[in-house]
Amino acid sequence: MPEGLSRRSFIKLAAAASAAAAVPGCEPAARKLIPYVVPDENVLPGMPSYYASTCAECPAGCGIIATVREGRVTTLAGNPADPIGAGAICARGQAALQGLYNPDRLADPMLRGDGGKLTKISWDAAEKLLTDHLGAAAKAGQNRVAFLGAPQGPSFAKITRAFLGAYGSNRTTFYEALENEAARNAAETLFGRRDLPIYKIDQAETLISFAADFLETGSSPVELARQYADFRAPKTRRGQLTIGRSFYVGPRMSMSAAKCDDWIPSMPGAEAQVAWSVLHVLVAQRWIAQNSGLDLNALTTMVAAYDPAAVSQRTGVPADKINAMGAAFGRADGAVAMASGDDEALHLAAYMLNAATGNLGRTMLFLDGAGVEPVTTASDVNAAMAAMRDGKVDVVVINGANPVFTMPPSMRAAESLQRVGFVVWMGTVPDETANMASLLLPAHHPLEAWRDTAPRPGVRGLGQPVMQPVFASRAAGDIMLAAAAKAPQAKIPWQSSADAVKAEWLALAPQGASHDAQTEFWTKVRREGGLYTEAKPMAVKLSTASLKTPPPGDGTSQGLTFVAFAHIFLYDGRGADKPWLQEIPEPVTQIVWDSWAEIHPTTAAKLGIAKDELIELRTEHGAIEAPALISANVHPGAIVVPLGQGHRAYGRYASDVGANPWKILAAGSLRIAVSAKGTGRSRRLISPLGKSDMLGRSIVEAMSLDELRHGGEPEAPLAPEPYEMYPPFPYPNHKWGMTIDVNSCTGCSACVAACYAENNLPFVGKELVDQGRIMSWIRIERFFPEDKDNAPNLYLAPMLCQQCNHAPCEPVCPVFASYHTQEGLNGQVYNRCVGTRYCENNCPYKVRRFNWFVPEWPAPLNLQLNPDVTVRGAGVMEKCTFCIQRIQHAEINARDDDRALKDGEIVPACAGACPARAITFGDMNDQQSAMMRRRDDNNARNYLMLEELNTQPAIVYLRDLYRVKGKA
């Protein structure tokens, strides 16, 4: 599998795959069996081909490698050549597969007749309708056609403009629901540019996140998770063994907060004041860098009003915490502050902190070169909607965005669309917006279409189709170009979006290159999935002119504040149609298939709200209901609800699940004053997790930094020699094992998604999860600490089969379905299993899964199934075997080229996906393997889960690291 290979050998693989065809994938439609009578040159039965492309699931734009079997893409992995993802991929990225194969995708063009009934029409009819309406609109005058959609890369932007141009309009609106406009404004104020800075956490010693969930849904989660793991890895700095110092200031203990040393609860909106106060500490202590070009006196007067004591007064955030943050930030050799939200003051403060400590261009930098395709500003979006309402638009073409769902009521999306004569919706799964459209056109999924991305200067991602379309859909770009071609006096430079993308990229080829050189370049970028060049940090001059007295930031009201946050999997709602993302438990709450309203026990008591009781949350904009999740991981002044649920359309998996917070939010903000009351009715929140209390058992272990410095906790020494009753079994060639660094693991669950995709794990739905029939082979085990001060904020670690050497599951199986392989795995022979379930009873880790029913994948989701892994029937026990199919694949390859297996040649799905690189797989017989070296290098942190049982797991965990609260 490529994500584990060296870059060279990966390119070899990719070359073999995408050598010739411009459009890869097999000739016949992917839903049909492939007739091998006339074999397709690109399809070797049983052999995967790999295609590089780019992920379109969030704006980060990671590069991906698609594994294609017999013309069907089965798994997605990170592209090692891409500097952003660097070979890793998040859960959302992998779930793109379920968007591609979603059973509720629009299969044919649909026309909405009178009474809103949809009727199927042919593509020709559809195109004619479209061009007619467009023509009519163009005749009626200028700018009577509009495009409303998500930013989908430079080529797409060009196509859109050309299309609108052909019909005499320039109403392009690239709308991103979670667009961080405040950050752009702040950047403009301070640095005079609107693009977002790049962060280099790994260059820092101290990190302060002001409500920025950089590990879940920030600007680039995979990249930042990787950096954060490095930041938190034990290093010797200034002669002392230490780990990065991190703080999180915000109303809710998010996953990012949980992984920080300190989570400092704050009133929603109070973060800005805290941030300014930290700056105050820096100024007071003269911790201002010379090169920052800031005048100390100016600064002093600037932050005068934010002395910690005063801020503590106003916000309730303890002054000593603020001072601690200031000290850690100011003393650090490299520090970074990050912010999120709609509070411009907060972003200003965060930028100022970085700038003042001379970290601008070091931990936070603006890159030189072409900025990204700018997203339409909020005001322009509002203008566009207003134009529709005022009847200035006859035809609106919508693609990639779901404004009816994601726009707060004040933006009146639905009303605006109603006023448009002809609404054309192009997309995959019909959503709330599609329900308003007169013409619905099935568009390609990003994995079926040509596209490109420019996530940041120096990184250009090329998205090539990885397979033939699943449905009779067309690329959105092609639809628009076809329509444009029909326009009078239209001169469109490209035939198709493929042409457009190619033209765009040939322009990137070395200047004055010959035709061959260009072709060579074109092949190269398709192999590598993009063009990656070093972009130099740009020297930006800080203009504090506008900052005589900084805005205090809002939201210090003492009332109850409603806070919505982007769900790690569902994001702004686009993930909700993908069963994997619904079923993988949200790492911190462990809740599946629902929305929840997280509320502090004291607040709940005050409002008389019981566990799981539906809370009515009412604001000036409306009301929603969500079940109460009573937890201490939220500020008493806040009630927190995740975004993404509450769809009323968008397919069978999304519709009628949970509540949609956008409904009660004001435009451009994720928090608002709210009145909450219990409804008396309740809906149980479903989680596969049992107790949250580890009861002091050695499942997820952690050690304090001091203990690490003293080389391991004295009372818990390293593994004693296991007691052997029988002569140990010699493993002649390999003994597979894993090393998992709990300290690096963020809980992001990319491994879980990877396992679902690679091993054909069925999703079971809310009821069956409740009945204890969830099928995940790997899960994130989450526990709350008993002693909050002397433990990490949250115990999080991946739990999977430990492949015990003395496996309790093996001897109890009456038929040898569970047995020990020659390479030290706990094999499970599915078609030998009779289903006594004794193995699971005897498994201390409870990592085996039983098939209670015959698993089902509504077509075409079944096309995603990995042909290397059997689909298990009812009555069979199943489990993780370190992706034995990948082990076999690599061993066979090695045998074919008559060589020894190379270390790192085999990478199980979970290890390959992990953004934090927490999981290393290798051969325990090879002391030099990366996996074994990782154990040795972190000797003091080694531990085995439930070691006292002498099951001798093949997985060695590295203890989580934490700082004793109140210690530097």
């Binding site: 596969p688 997790l689 049992g690 107790k691 949250s692 209390d693 580890m694 009861l695 002091g696 058992r697 499942i699 069956l768 009945q771 204890g772 029939r773 969830i774 085990e781 989450r782 526990f783 739990m799 309790p808 001897p811 109890v812 199986c813 009456p814 038929v815 040898f816 047995y819 030998r832 299993c833 009779v834 289903g835 006594t836 379930r837 004794y838 699971e840 009873n841 005897n842 201390p844 880790y845 409870k846 899964r849 039983f850 098939n851 209670w852 029913f853 015959v854 009812a874 009555g875 069979v876 026990m877 439930l946 049982l949």
Partner: protein, 452 residues
């Protein structure tokens, strides 16, 4: 007491024959309604099982981490019931216990059908029951064989052996009686009994070998009965799950088995002797002796509970202690205390001789014991699985209608088969009553004097 009694002369051999054979007269309407009722419940269970096979075990309430619950509980319960039969017929035979003669046939019959019922449950609980035969070694082209390290394979051998031996033992004992019945029966019954009797006529030669074979069978069945329930207990003791992994399980389960089994014998005999009018064959004296065994085994079981808990406390094993804390005081604590009430406290009233011959009281007590022992097995199995090593996987189990109805069906199945036997084959051994007729005569006097 034998001294106190002058040699009585009744009942005579003929009285015994009449008493027993009268039972086998052609049954009346009530009987057939009862049989129909039993087997319609069995039919319901069968339908639900078919559905379970068709749809998968998802129709049960089983879940992570409680992979075993009611089905295995029933298995252990019924195997346990079976044990008293062999105890009474084999072990007491070796001890030449006199009072067994009247009750052992019923007990043996119960054994056979209880094992037959128990044997269904491993099948019912399997994920893929159609592959049950994979648990047995047999030559096959794939060279696949069972894993003899697995207690489930021991089970397969132990239970099937037990079924065979108890069937043979019962059949042997029947031969002289059906020969006798043959002489009185007419029509198809005569043929039926003649075939069963194998032409037995009670010659000296036949009796000579019969006696030896019967003695040896008893000798073989005695260690077997101990081994079978030990093996059953090892299904749990061999696992390392807290609450299961304990060395006292074998004796503890055997005692429990005899306890529940003898209680079940009482549950069946007390109404039976009334309805079948065999009070003067199965006398209060007999029942009194059974009650004494129940009392004794109840004390053994109580002692086992105490030892188990003590060991947990003494071991200092935090995880084990947590499991037991949950067993006593967790959400399922009530099950444990019901069990203590039924198995340890209620049987104590059997210290009173008057209770021991009060049929109504005895019957109610025996019912309580059955309930208590069922709960004991359930608590050990499902309870321990719930509170396993990994708290993140602690979940409680609730049975589904399928499991409940199949359990009910198993009781119906057992009672139905037993009722059929009782009506068509001699449910009391005439030959052995005759052999020990002197004691029977005394018993009747004693019984009438005490129960009066």
């Amino acid at each position: 007491m034998a001294a106190a009694l002058q040699e009585p002369t009744t009942p005579t051999f003929r009285d015994i024959d009449r008493g027993v054979l009268r039972v086998m007269d052609f049954p009346g309407m009530a009987y057939w309604i009862w049989i129909a009722f039993c087997f319609s419940l069995v039919a319901i269970a069968a339908i639900l099982w078919t559905r379970q096979i068709y749809e998968g075990l998802g129709v049960t309430g089983l879940r992570q981490p409680v992979m075993w619950a009611i089905y295995i509980t029933n298995f252990v319960f019924w195997v346990g019931i079976a044990h008293s039969g062999t105890l009474i017929s084999a072990i007491l035979y070796l001890f030449r216990t006199r009072w067994r003669t009247a009750v052992y046939r019923a007990a043996e019959t119960m054994t056979l059908f209880a094992v037959a019922t128990a044997g269904l449950f491993p099948m019912i609980h399997l994920g893929r029951p159609w592959f049950l035969y994979w648990l047995l070694p047999y030559p096959n082209e794939r060279y696949l064989q069972p894993n003899f390290r697995s207690p489930l394979v021991w089970d397969a051998f132990a239970v099937s052996t037990y079924l065979t031996i108890s069937a043979l033992f019962l059949f042997m004992g029947l031969i002289p009686d059906v020969a006798n019945a043959r002489e009185h029966a007419q029509g198809w019954r005569k043929k039926f009994y003649s075939i069963l009797a194998l032409g037995w006529q009670g010659t000296d030669r036949q009796w000579h070998h019969f006696a030896m074979a019967y003695l040896l069978m008893a000798g073989l069945a005695t260690p077997l009965v101990i081994s079978v329930h030990s093996v059953v207990s090892w299904d749990f003791a061999m696992a390392q799950l807290p609450g299961w992994h304990s060395t006292i399980f074998a004796p503890y389960f055997v005692a429990g088995a005899i306890f529940s089994g003898v209680a079940m014998v009482m549950t069946l005999l007390i109404p039976m002797r009334k309805w079948l009018h065999i009070e003067d064959l199965v006398t209060p004296w007999h029942i009194d002796s059974l009650a004494k065994i129940v009392l004794l085994t109840s004390l053994v079981v109580s002692y086992s509970y105490a030892t188990e808990s003590f060991m947990v406390w003494y071991s200092g094993d935090k995880i084990e202690q947590m499991t037991f804390h949950m067993r006593y005081f967790g959400p399922w604590g009530w099950i444990f205390w019901v069990m203590i009430l039924c198995n340890c406290l209620i049987p104590l009233v059997l210290f009173s001789p008057r209770i021991r011959v009060n049929m109504k009281a005895l019957w109610i007590i025996s019912i309580f014991v059955n309930i208590g022992m069922w709960f004991e097995r359930f608590d050990i199995i499902a309870g321990s699985l719930t509170t396993n090593f990994n708290p993140a996987q602690w979940h409680f189990y609730t049975p589904s209608i399928t499991e409940i109805m199949i359990t009910v069906g198993s009781f119906a199945w057992f009672l139905g088969l037993f009722s059929l036997f009782a009506k068509f084959l001699p449910i009391v051994s005439m030959t052995e009553l005759k052999e020990g007729i002197g004691f029977l005569r005394q018993a009747i006097r004693k019984g009438s004097s005490t129960s009066a």
